[in-house]
């Protein structure tokens, strides 16, 4: 192989590795998973890769056997949006790269395929999330009426969140709008029906917004020793919780509970 071709290959490999890391980071993988996956793929090509991982930027250097740095690049991730199809697809691919000695072209093709994979239809997401919301209500001890209201509230809240995200609002604002919408809808029940205690419905109406992935990833990052990543993810989860609480508060102020 000529030197020129080799250089091209290394550049291509480095760019692809960085792209994989960025996709994983944005899809909700923990830092250790990002590092392991990239290590696995680069080892299959006979290179060593070191990375600096932060919440929104990744720095990646590739070293050859002689210990020379042959590729170095820094890139910013796209906005984070949890997508476990991507995490699972890349994990599966990384093992196939090792076992079946894939070429860079094949990896690129697979990434393009994974990026093009469809999400669940919007209506399915809305309905099942609403079902999850009313399940929460039932688990907390709500009645059938509470569950129906939470179902409606969750559906409207998630719809508003998706629309706000499309309009490119700040992500925390999206959460605030969603929490406000669903608590306003469920709050009307609390306001109109004084006889029964509907506290459970009101409290569980916003639970579909809980930042489960940031908080669990925060903990696993800290356990793995990626303290900075863990603290930042935890802080992100904390701000989301704060936005939810703010939404609840606003509707409590509107209804004067």
């Amino acid at each position: 192989m000529s030197d020129h071709q080799k250089n091209n290959n290394i550049n291509e490999l480095g760019t692809t590795l960085l792209h994989i890391a960025l996709l994983l980071m944005a899809s909700g993988a923990s830092s250790e998973r990002v590092r392991n996956t990239v290590d696995r793929i680069s080892n299959a090509f006979g290179y060593t890769t070191y990375m600096l991982i932060s919440q929104r930027t990744l720095l990646l250097s590739v070293y050859n056997d002689a210990g020379e740095c042959i590729f170095n690049s820094l890139k910013r991730t796209s906005a984070h949006g949890i997508n476990f199809k991507m995490v699972s697809g890349i994990s599966r691919m990384s093992w196939l790269v090792v076992e079946e000695k894939w070429t860079i072209e094949k990896i690129k093709e697979d990434i393009a395929r994974l990026c093009a994979l469809p999400h669940y239809p919007r209506m399915v997401v809305l309905l099942l999330t609403a079902l999850a919301g009313s399940s929460f209500c039932r688990l907390a001890g709500g009645s059938a009426l509470d569950m129906a209201m939470v179902f409606a509230g969750t559906m409207a809240g998630l719809f508003i969140r998706q629309e706000a995200a499309k309009k490119r609002f700040n992500p925390y604002m999206c959460v605030y709008f969603a929490a406000l919408t669903s608590s306003l809808i469920v709050g009307s029940l609390v306001k109109l029906d004084h006889q029964v205690n509907h506290e459970f419905a009101f409290a569980t109406s916003v639970l579909f917004l809980i930042p489960g992935v940031p908080l669990i990833n925060a903990f696993s990052d800290m356990i793995d020793g990626n303290l900075q990543n863990g603290i930042i993810r935890g802080l992100n989860g904390f701000i989301i919780s704060f936005a939810i609480a703010l939404g609840l508060l606003t509707s409590m102020a509107i209804y004067r509970f």
Binding site: V125, T129, L248
Partner: protein, 171 residues
């Protein structure tokens, strides 16, 4: 009769887990295992709470079960364990405690009545600490299989009939 109610909760835990799974866009082949894991983990938790075990310990037991169930499912369905475990533990998040903590914090921050302030303060701290510890136990339970087997990847963990974890490199 009580146990019937507990098993009804099982279904709701499963439904909540599947709802979050769809929200997180998991592969379709993992939806059913997530339902099972959510339901069994939730059942463990409510059964232990029913037997008057502390809710924190009960959550740890439930999430640990989910963490261990995630390994065979991960092998079987070819997806990493977090894809199964994260949606499955989310129904155990203590929403009501968090809500009460928030109400308490607002009361403390607002105009405070000297007569009830100590009670509100202690209730808020109580609820807040419960929320914090339950969240930590959920995350810890999910991570436990990896910590115990000291592996970087679930691919290296084999669960044998002997009940022991066997290293691939030893075979």
């Amino acid at each position: 009769m009580e146990w019937l109610q507990l098993s009804e909760k099982c279904i709701w835990f499963g439904c909540a887990a599947v709802g979050f799974a769809v929200l997180f866009n998991v592969p379709v082949r993992t939806l059913f295992p997530i339902f099972i894991m959510g339901a069994l983990g939730g059942l463990t938790k409510v059964a232990l709470v029913h037997l008057e075990v502390n809710v924190i310990i009960a959550s740890l037991a439930g999430s640990t079960l989910i963490g261990f169930l995630g390994i065979p499912f991960a092998h079987n369905k070819h997806a990493p364990p977090p894809v199964f475990c994260i949606p499955a533990v989310i129904p155990m998040v203590p929403g009501i405690f968090a809500y009460r903590m928030m109400l308490g914090l607002i009361k403390i921050a607002g105009d405070i009545d000297k007569a009830t302030s100590v009670q509100i303060l202690s209730e808020t701290i109580h609820n807040g600490l419960k929320v914090m510890f339950i969240l930590m136990t959920l995350a810890a339970g999910v991570g436990l299989p990896m910590l115990i087997t000291r592996k970087d990847s679930a691919k290296d963990i084999r669960f044998r009939k002997t009940g022991k974890f066997i290293d691939d490199s030893m075979e």
